[in-house]
Each structure stands twice: as C-alpha cells, then as structure tokens.
C-alpha cells in the first residue's frame, strides 16, 4: 500500500491545517510519504495532490526539485559522504574511495542486499569536523577508514538500530500544537488590521 495510511493521513491533515494555504504543506507531506514507504511512490504523490488540492503533476514538479526525495527504492541506509571544500581538503576523496571498496559499489550505487546506498553529498554544515558523512541524516565526524568499516559493520549487525532509523525517517519528534494553545493559520484576508498587541501599549 503506498497511499498514506490512516495514521499518516491524520498527521497530514494536522500539518496542512497549520498553513494559510494547503500547498505549503507539500514538502513535509512528501517526507511523510517517504517515511512510510522508504521512497516517494506515484500513488503517494497522487494522494498528496488530493490532500492539498493540486494535481499530481504539480506534486511531482515540486518533489523532483529536492535532492532528499527518491522515486525508487534505495538501500535501508543511505550513506552520504560530503565532498565539498573543507571535507575535500581533509581527505574526503580517500574516504569515498575506501567506501566504494568496502561496500563494493560505486558512488550512487546500492549493494545487492539492499542494505546500503552510497552517495556523494554536498556541504553538511559540519565543516570543522571534516571529513564528515551522514547515514540517513545522522552525522559521523572526522571519519577515518577504520571508523567507516566499524560503522558499516555496526549497521549490518543492527547495533545502531536505535540511533539510525531506516531510510525515510528524518526527525523522529513531530511538532504537535495543542488545540487549546494554537492560534491557527493566519491566511491573507483573515487579518485586515494590526494585530491586537500593536496598540502602542505594553502587552503585559
């Protein structure tokens, strides 16, 4: 089943309601679809179009702009090795070479057992800790070849299952706005004058 399941539909509706316009929820919803299935399926994109009121082509148009969305299955663990300047200066080239040998695939490839996809990535905002990599968007810093081997072995043996979820799951904590605390989306047209606190007086 690759449309959103019932639990995720509920989450999706909650997310959509936070925005002044439903289409704004598209990227978070695409993540939800990828979280459910490991990649973004055509059926999910049709479903998201229905949920936010745009065509599936528009959903596809947005989705294909962003690097994190995958449209076919990838390995359970996506290993992104940074190759931008600071990491390159600190040995990212050698690390990638080693990773290709250890996993037996070239950058961009997936291992035959479907466990690992290896990929080149761009600056991960961890430049002082170069060379860096992310496995399903969890960091490893100052990675040596030995560190890399240990990481792969630990992922294989399931030792890191708690820290690193399967591909698709990014943040494991969601924002929840309690009904009695939220203001609700302020859409254009909903507010026609200065908000209440802009009356020239202190709010407290």
């Amino acid at each position: 089943m690759s449309r959103l399941n019932d639990v995720n539909i509920k989450t999706a509706l909650e997310i959509i309601a936070r925005y002044p316009r439903p289409k704004s929820a598209l990227i978070p919803l695409l993540h939800l679809a990828q979280e459910q299935n490991g990649y973004v399926t055509n059926e999910a994109m049709v479903h998201l179009g229905e949920l936010v009121g745009v065509t599936s082509a528009e959903v596809y148009g947005t989705a294909t702009f962003y690097e994190m969305f995958r449209f076919e299955p990838v390995g359970k663990y996506l290993v992104n090795i940074c190759g931008t300047m600071s990491c390159a200066l600190m040995g990212a080239g050698d690390l990638m070479h080693h990773a290709e040998q250890k996993l037996g695939v070239k950058a961009g490839g997936t291992t035959a057992d479907g466990m690992f996809t290896l990929a080149h990535a761009e600056c991960q905002a961890a430049c002082t800790e170069a060379p860096t990599l992310q496995v399903n968007y969890r960091f490893r810093y100052k990675v040596t070849n030995g560190d890399f081997d240990t990481l792969i072995d630990d992922l294989k043996s399931g030792k890191l299952a708690d820290e690193i979820p399967a591909h698709g799951v990014v943040a494991r904590i969601r924002q929840r706005i309690p009904a009695d605390r939220g203001v609700g989306a302020v859409a254009p047209g909903l507010a026609t004058e200065n908000p209440a606190w802009m009356d020239g007086k202190a709010a407290l």
């Binding site: 969601r174 706005i177 909903l190 407290l204």
Partner: protein, 480 residues
C-alpha cells in the same frame, strides 16, 4: 601526511555534544548555554534566564522594542549583513497579515553555526522569533530548517512542544494579548532555497527558485504576496540577550558599525578547526587562524596558501589580508565579503585547481536552472575546469573560463590585492546577469584561483608545441 591533523585537540574546551564548538574566554551572547549538556531542554533554559527577554519585551510597547533593536544595529548573520531593525521597518504600514520566515537552511560551503544554535539552544531561537513577531507586528512565524538536519529538527520540535505547553508560544503568550504560532517547517535538500525569495517559494510548496527583486522584495511582497520578514537563525538568537541587557550593552561589544559578536566556523588546514563566537568588528583573520585561543596556526606549521573568508561564494584571500578585521566596510574594499562567517583554510600542500573545482562543482550542481548564464555557464565552468584538473585542458580552456565568467559577471570581478604578483584589489561587489548569487558563485572561487595562482593552472595545461615543417613558411601547430 595524515590528512586529519587538523582535528587534533589542544587545551581549548570542546563539548562532545556540540562538536566543533570552542568556548574560550570571550563575551557570549548566543552560546552562553552551550556548556550545559542539557542546554536544549526547557528546564535548563528557564534556569539560565530563558524567556526573561520575552517577558521584558512584552512589558514595553512593541514600537519601543523595535526602536531598541534598531539602535543596537543587529546586522543580519545570513550573508548580506543588513540590519534587522531597519529591515523590519520596511514593511508597508497598512497591509496585513505580515509574516516571519526564519532561515535555518544553512548550506553555504564552510558554514556551521545555525545548526549548532538550533541543536544546542532551540528555546533561545524560539524566544528570538517571538520578540521579532512582537516588535514588528508579525502574525505567524514559519521556522524553516534544512531538510538534512535531523537532530536540529527534533530539538526544535521538542522545544516548541514544551514551549506551547508552558504558555510561551501560541495564544495569549504569558497571559498577554500577544498571540502567535510558530510552525516548524523543513526542507528537502536544495542549497538555493537558502536565498530568501526561493525560501518563500519553497514554503509555498513550489520548486525553490528565486524570484526577481524588484518586485519581490519579501518585506513588501513575500509569502502569499504578503509583507514577510526573512531573518537568519543567528540574527534572531541575538534578540533575547539584547532584550535583557539593552542596546547599550550590545553596542559596547565590537565596533560601532559591527556591534556584538558573531559565530564563525574555521575549517580546513588549521591545527584546531572550530566554531567560535568572536567579537565582531575587531577580531582579525590572523587572530582566528593563528591565535592560541582560536585555531592555533596552520597544520604541521605549514605555510598558508589561501583562505576563503566568508563562505564558498566569497573571493579568496591570502596572507596579505590576514590583518583585516571582521568588518564589512574593510573586507569589501579589499575584494571579498564576510558572508556567512565561514573560513576555509588551504595550506601550502593544497592543489589549488582541484580545491576550486569542489566549489565550482557545488554551485553548478545547485543551480536552479532559472537563468541561462548560471544554468549553462556554471556547467561549462565545471566541465572546463575538470579538464584542466585532469590534465587535458589547454591554454584556450583557461581563456574560455574567463570569457564564460564575464557572461555571468560582466566587468571587473572582485579580488584581493597581492604584493608578490603586483596586483591591486578590485572591491566587492560585482555586476551580474543572473537573478541570484549562485551563478556568480560558481565563478568566484575559480576567478580567485586563476588570478592568484595562475601558474598552477598553467602547469596543468597540455602544452602547445610548434613543429617546424620546412616546406611551410608559417609552421602549423599541433596539440600534443
């Protein structure tokens, strides 16, 4: 040689949970809680003066708070350095609602600070967002975090949940008439989305392509066509301290034109790479690269070859510029920019054409495709440079790079002065034929590298040899 020498730690205190951050004995405006292992929890936040700035702000009229921020001259920390208070004043008076969009998309090569601020002190950022919404009359806030930053998303989500439950965000904040929602939004991997108008497109659920300015200046015509303030994470993180301590205390740190502190990441070939909160305006590049409290010198005591002073888009400096301070009014005329507070250091062992290629590749790869000079030009630059790095480039290729560059940025391109080469500086900024700075940024590193290290490119070129042929008066040339 061990490529990881730069990672060796010395005496500076490093916190494993804030990898890269080095405290040091300096004023702390945005990193004061980093020393606590639980700095991201609401308990620690409240125990260390958290939300006191908000309470103080709400005790005064919004216009007063706006004035306070204006007089502090809080420069934008996202790259352009525009004062936040002035920006807030640019929205049209009678158009509602107005929005706040927080730029947490940090992806400029070399930049590492906003992620730390979100992971280590998410409540400080939330408090900053609330102060901005209060002061500028903004009705809803969207906090856009880069898609790949899983931990930052988790920490900010948890902090928002705590803050809503405790009455700091949402309806009638602290029991007052001030009400605003902060919605956590996250991206999915696209550097260009950090550009403010692309950020807004992306937040509307579209492909993240920049809009033309004018007419799409966000303050006038932003999210859903409404007045929208876009501010960087670090910019907003300054506000709680400013509220508690006042603008006089803020401007007492740093210089008149660059007050306060700023977060700077120094990476590459230094002994102790790290992220530092430095005093703005007075700290020099030499302090940062060589100072014992900062990076402690170049790895293996090698010679410095070059450094990128302000993120991958910035023209390069060499040792001649080391004594410049972190002050835009001096770095601009010297031929570069401070950008996002990211310094990348290259020592004497660096292969300059290959180093430039990593950046040109980055910007070519990240082009959104909206303007031809960037979409095509960036790719050309990358392909030609790849040939040169691989040893199959020619003299004509080197020339072609400069010609393609001139199509993206007509006229003189900024670069640093260089005594040895007898070069005078060409000041920042440049002219451009593109909508945003991604196109020019593909050329910037390459232009610097060729201007300052031309011989390294020439040494890589396939030599043009003349073979004299007796029967012909002008000898034909062949490529060997």
């Amino acid at each position: 040689m061990d490529g990881r020498q730069g990672g060796i730690m010395t005496t500076a205190i490093r916190y494993p949970h804030a990898a890269g951050f080095v405290a040091g004995d300096r004023p702390k405006i945005v990193t004061s809680r980093f020393e606590h292992a639980d700095s991201f929890t609401i308990e620690r936040f409240l125990a260390t003066g958290g939300y006191a700035g908000l309470r103080k702000a709400l005790g005064r009229p919004a216009t007063d708070i706006h004035e306070e921020v204006k007089s502090a001259t809080v420069l934008g920390r996202g790259g352009a350095g525009f004062p936040a208070g002035t920006k807030w004043g640019l929205t049209p008076q009678q158009v509602f609602p107005k929005y706040l969009v927080v730029n947490g998309d940090e992806s400029e090569p070399g930049t590492y600070k906003d992620r730390l601020l979100m992971e280590r002190d998410p409540h400080q950022l939330i408090e900053g967002c609330l102060i901005a919404c209060y002061a500028a009359g903004l009705s809803q806030c969207f906090l856009y975090i880069r898609g790949e930053m899983a931990l930052a998303q988790e920490r900010v989500a948890a902090a928002l949940n705590e803050a809503y439950a405790a009455g700091y965000v949402g309806k009638n904040i602290l029991g007052s008439k001030f009400s605003v929602d902060i919605v956590l939004h996250w991206g999915a991997g696209a550097y260009v989305v950090g550009e403010e108008t692309a950020l807004i497109e992306s937040l509307e659920g579209n492909r993240g392509m920049p809009r033309l300015k004018p007419p799409f200046f966000p303050a006038a015509n932003g999210l859903y066509g409404q007045p929208t303030i876009v501010n960087n994470v670090e910019t907003l993180a300054n506000l709680p301290w400013l509220m508690v301590n006042g603008s006089e205390a803020y401007t007492a740190i740093g210089t008149k034109t660059s007050p306060g502190t700023r977060m700077v990441a120094v990476s590459g070939h230094v002994k102790n790479p790290g992220v530092f909160e430095i005093i703005n305006g007075t700290t020099t590049f030499r302090d940062l690269l060589y100072g014992a409290e900062f990076c402690g010198g170049i790895r293996n005591d090698n010679e410095l070859k070059a450094f990128v002073p302000g993120g991958g888009s910035a023209p390069w400096f060499t040792a001649d510029q080391l004594d410049l301070p972190f002050e835009a009014s001096q770095v601009g005329p010297a031929g570069s920019m401070l950008g996002s507070g990211a310094i990348m250091v290259m020592d004497s062992t660096t292969d300059i054409p290959a180093a430039a290629l990593t950046l040109t590749h980055f910007y070519a790869h990240e082009s959104c495709g909206k303007c031809t000079p960037c979409r095509e030009g960036g790719t050309w630059l990358e392909r030609i440079l790849t040939r040169i790095v691989d040893g199959t480039g020619t003299e004509a290729d080197l020339q072609q790079i400069l010609e393609v560059g001139a199509m993206i940025c007509p006229g003189d391109f900024p670069h640093a002065s260089n005594e040895k080469l007898g070069l005078a500086a060409v000041p920042f900024p440049y002219k451009m034929t593109t909508i945003c700075f991604v196109g020019p940024s593909a050329f910037a590193p390459l232009h610097s590298a060729i201007t300052l290290f031309r011989s390294e490119f020439e040494a890589r070129l396939v030599k043009r040899i003349s073979i004299p042929v007796t029967a012909v008066s002008t000898p034909p040339t062949v490529w060997a």
